[in-house]
Symmetry: C2
Subunit: 278 residues, 2 copies
């Protein structure tokens, strides 16, 4: 299988670097092919702006969405963006390796998303009409791929637990896992986390790398987070979760399939209109 690691840390000798390298070796050893985008080493352009479009559709006011769609459709994206999209399409699994900074991705990685996840590629895909809002959340150009966050965290694990002061790890990465990775169709695995990294000494690193290797061996076997697909009958024509679903849960967890609920429509039906389903 093909595994694409997007790595965002300014220091190659960091713990993030020390997780990226054994990942490459372990996955290669398992017979997979691995591609790495090392965003800092590549000098990745983080800010999204008009320079991202080599043949502007409009000379006037810049609409990033419109220009993104035009550039994607006409092959006039910048080469760095096209190369990353090709890696995504090539991949069977995508791993984002980064330090959690301010409860989210480093800016350089967010800029990778902002620029690579183009209109027509990662959003604006599928039929948008009436009450149908396109192919997204479980469907899209990246369907069939797995994705996982692998992140180092300065804080303590309990602070991120169910009642921890920082918020829980179902909720904090929801904008990334659900909103960025599941949106264009990828199946998202539970994040891999290492806590209190600023208090670790180098002697802890081998065990941390071992844990990561063990996790990677199940990359294509472990069950993904059971986010509900948008067009599989659980959301109504206004894209609201239908009454009765998600009962007993609050917040982001209502968007997880519950074992006691009726199953989603199978994949074969996914291009039917969502609002024709009960």
């Amino acid at each position: 299988m093909n595994v694409f690691i997007v790595y965002a840390h300014p220091e190659p000798r960091s713990l993030n670097g020390a997780l990226k390298d054994p990942a490459v070796r372990t996955l290669t050893g398992l017979g997979h092919t691995v591609e790495v985008s090392d965003l800092y080493a590549m000098g990745w352009k983080a800010q999204a702006d008009g320079a991202d479009f080599l043949d502007r559709a409009g000379a006037g006011r810049l609409s990033y969405v419109r220009e993104s769609g035009h550039a994607f459709a006409t092959g006039t994206q910048t080469p760095d963006v096209t190369a990353e999209q090709e890696k995504l399409l090539w991949s069977d699994a995508v791993i984002l390796q980064f330090p959690l900074w301010w409860f989210s991705m480093p800016a350089i990685l967010k800029g990778w998303v902002d620029r690579v996840f183009a209109f027509g590629f990662a959003y604006g895909v599928g039929r948008h009409e009436g009450e149908r809002w396109g192919d997204r959340y479980g469907e899209g150009k990246l369907t069939g791929r797995r994705a996982m966050l692998s992140t180092t965290i300065g804080g303590r694990g309990p602070h991120y637990s169910e009642r921890g002061v920082n918020g829980r790890l179902d909720d904090l990465p929801f904008p990334i896992q659900h909103g960025i990775l599941f949106y264009p169709g990828m199946a998202v695995l539970q994040p891999h986390t290492v806590f209190q990294v600023d208090r670790l000494s180098d002697e802890h690193w081998p065990q941390i790398a071992d844990n990561w290797r063990a996790r990677l061996r199940g990359l294509f076997d472990e069950p993904p987070i059971p986010y509900r697909r948008q067009n599989a009958g659980h959301y109504d024509g206004q894209q609201l979760l239908k009454p009765g679903l998600g009962a007993g849960e609050g917040g982001t967890r209502i968007h997880l399939l519950q074992p006691s609920e009726p199953p989603e429509r199978p994949d074969g039906a996914r291009h039917q209109r969502a609002d024709r389903h009960p």
Copy 2:
């Protein structure tokens, strides 16, 4: 009062620009003093890296946290970072004006946070020992200031409602509102949002600007989101919300004060150890 607007859009003639300019005029007309950081116009450096530190504490492996603390403490941060910190300290209210891209901030704005919210300034503040985890979540160097997100959103409002497919607006900006703004002590107001912005025509803009002006007139009057302070008796020594609090709520909402609950400890007591309180 002093109002600091951090504005992140690559197109001055965008709707975001058209919200920033009347905000300046309205706030000035109310007698406030306004400062704007236009991140794209400033050519703000988005990626956080070793170049942010003019006098490295260590010549070896870059620890961004350690270097951030050293640079802040010794006055060897880059001038762009220092200038933004001074604006934050000068301000009585901070407004972040940006388009919601992939359910979060544009990379350039995240890079403003990553670099400006330094160790010793926005985190790593206060006493860290035993079960006390510093001054954060309602206390810190930015206490006494208000903060608000003002954001334009491509999607439809219902998709962001309580049961909407995108997740609700209590949860999606939680990493920003609670994790970035409340963390160093600011009181956070409900976000100001404009939906379906790519389907608006220019004729809608005056009404949108009017709504924004009306909102701004209450900037110093409206009640903030009632996030619980970390060191006010509601979290235990492990920084877990104490049993019984947040009952009936799920996810990020357990971190909101509930009207039926005992009040927090008043401010005067906030430097006592949290674990000495019932």
